[in-house]
Amino acid sequence: MDVSIDESSAIPVYRQLVQQVVKAVGDGRLRPGDPLPTIRQLAVDLDLTPATVSKVYQILEAAGIVATAGRRGTFVHGEASANVGRFLSREMEIRFREFVDEQLQAGIAFADLKRFVTKELSDSNRRNA
């Protein structure tokens, strides 16, 4: 499978890569034990610095989605499928907290924000029903 990045996107490149790997594990395109490329290979192919790719692997490793086995390389973790759900919830919490803080700092009233979020959630629920 391929991964792609878009440097013109507002989402940082490392996060784009994390999201794609997590999605691939979630939908079964990457299975536990599947080998992943080395940091150097991915950095060279995507024309990124090794530090960026290293950050991606560190995040994924900390989340239990990939495991590094010394010189044998990096693999999809045996419990990756179970850990994807936990990782996505934690990511959502962090990003939602960032979003709320940003809006409150920008001067949006708490009550307005709450009303907006509630409305968006119920609209989304209706759309997906």
């Binding site: 499978m1 440097e7 490329p37 060279v44």
Partner: protein, 303 residues
């Protein structure tokens, strides 16, 4: 005309033919860093569409003159040294000049915002069948052991054993570096090549490079095996300057009559190398990207 000169000139001709194909392929790889941008800039494309071939032709002509001069006026061994040294120096100069030019052009092309890569790790297993890899490694190991056993039994000289050890160590170093370089080679046209051809050039290139290195291992193992068999029969295949030098270092060892004259051996090697080199541009790795016509692509883009 001297057979060695003719053989060397044939080799130079095939090297020049492969050189033109390689420069063409390399230039397209450089431009493929961001093909969309290149096609949107027709002036840039026109200026850099073809790699300049005159340094290649000038160096080829220079080598041919030096080779003819060497074989006409020097003893055969010195002439072979001069020939090999000149070809290596010319190749080094060409690589340096061309590498500098390509890196300057690549720097002028902006990185595309959208880039993609495979999440599949590259390893030798993807590029050569297991049996091929094992045979190449086993062949080299077996001939090394054969030479070691023959030397310990006193059937071959220490100079021969050390010369073989040096050759094999050099080969192993070259192959190890080649494998590393092949696997870590960038795939700059990963997206672009799919737009243009139905094959993945980088993968073709890696398959070709890995299989060429494994073939080299097999050929060297075969050559060492032939030399060992000839020496076990009481002969030396060809006069080997390294072996002669080592013989002087170790001293007091028996010498074997030489079976083939060095310049004849060199002529045969030149012809075989010329055939191999002339065949390289027809391999899928080269052929795939050679069929890309950037001019017609540019015309399609502007239509």
């Amino acid at each position: 005309m001297n057979l060695t000169i003719v053989a060397s000139w044939i080799l130079m001709g095939s090297l020049a033919w492969m050189g033109t194909a390689s420069l063409d392929v390399q230039r397209k790889q450089t431009l493929a860093k961001n093909m969309d941008w290149v096609l949107e800039n027709p002036d840039f494309l026109r200026r850099h569409l073809r790699a300049p071939l005159w340094p290649l032709f000038a160096l080829t002509l220079f080598c041919m003159v030096v080779i003819a001069f060497g074989f006409w006026s020097l003893p055969s061994l010195e002439a072979v040294y001069l020939k090999n040294g000149t070809i290596l120096a010319a190749a080094g100069i060409l690589c340096a000049v061309h590498g500098f030019q390509e890196s300057r052009i690549a720097q002028a092309i902006p990185k595309p915002d959208r880039r993609s890569a495979t999440l599949r790790p590259r390893s030798l297993e993807n590029y050569a069948p297991k049996a091929f890899r094992w045979s190449a490694d086993a062949a080299l190991l077996l001939v090394s052991l054969g030479v070691l056993v023959a030397w310990s039994l006193g059937a071959v000289t220490a100079a021969f054993a050390v010369a073989v050890a040096i050759s094999i160590a050099t080969l192993v170093g070259v192959v190890a570096w080649g494998r590393w370089a092949t696997l870590s080679e960038r795939s700059p046209h990963f997206q672009q090549v799919r737009r243009i051809t139905d094959k993945d050039l980088s993968e073709n290139y890696r398959r070709f490079a890995v299989q060429l290195m494994l073939s080299m291992q097999l050929v060297v193992a075969l050559l060492v095996a032939v030399q060992l068999a000839v020496q076990l029969a009481g002969w030396q295949l060809v006069h080997n300057p390294l072996q002669t030098m080592l013989q002087e270092v170790f001293g007091g060892q028996r010498t074997f009559p030489v079976l083939v004259r060095y310049e004849h051996y060199d002529a045969v090697v030149s012809i075989l190398a010329a055939i191999l080199v002339a065949w390289l541009p027809w391999t899928p790795a080269f052929a795939d990207i050679r069929k890309i016509n950037l001019v017609s692509l540019a015309k399609e883009e502007t239509r």
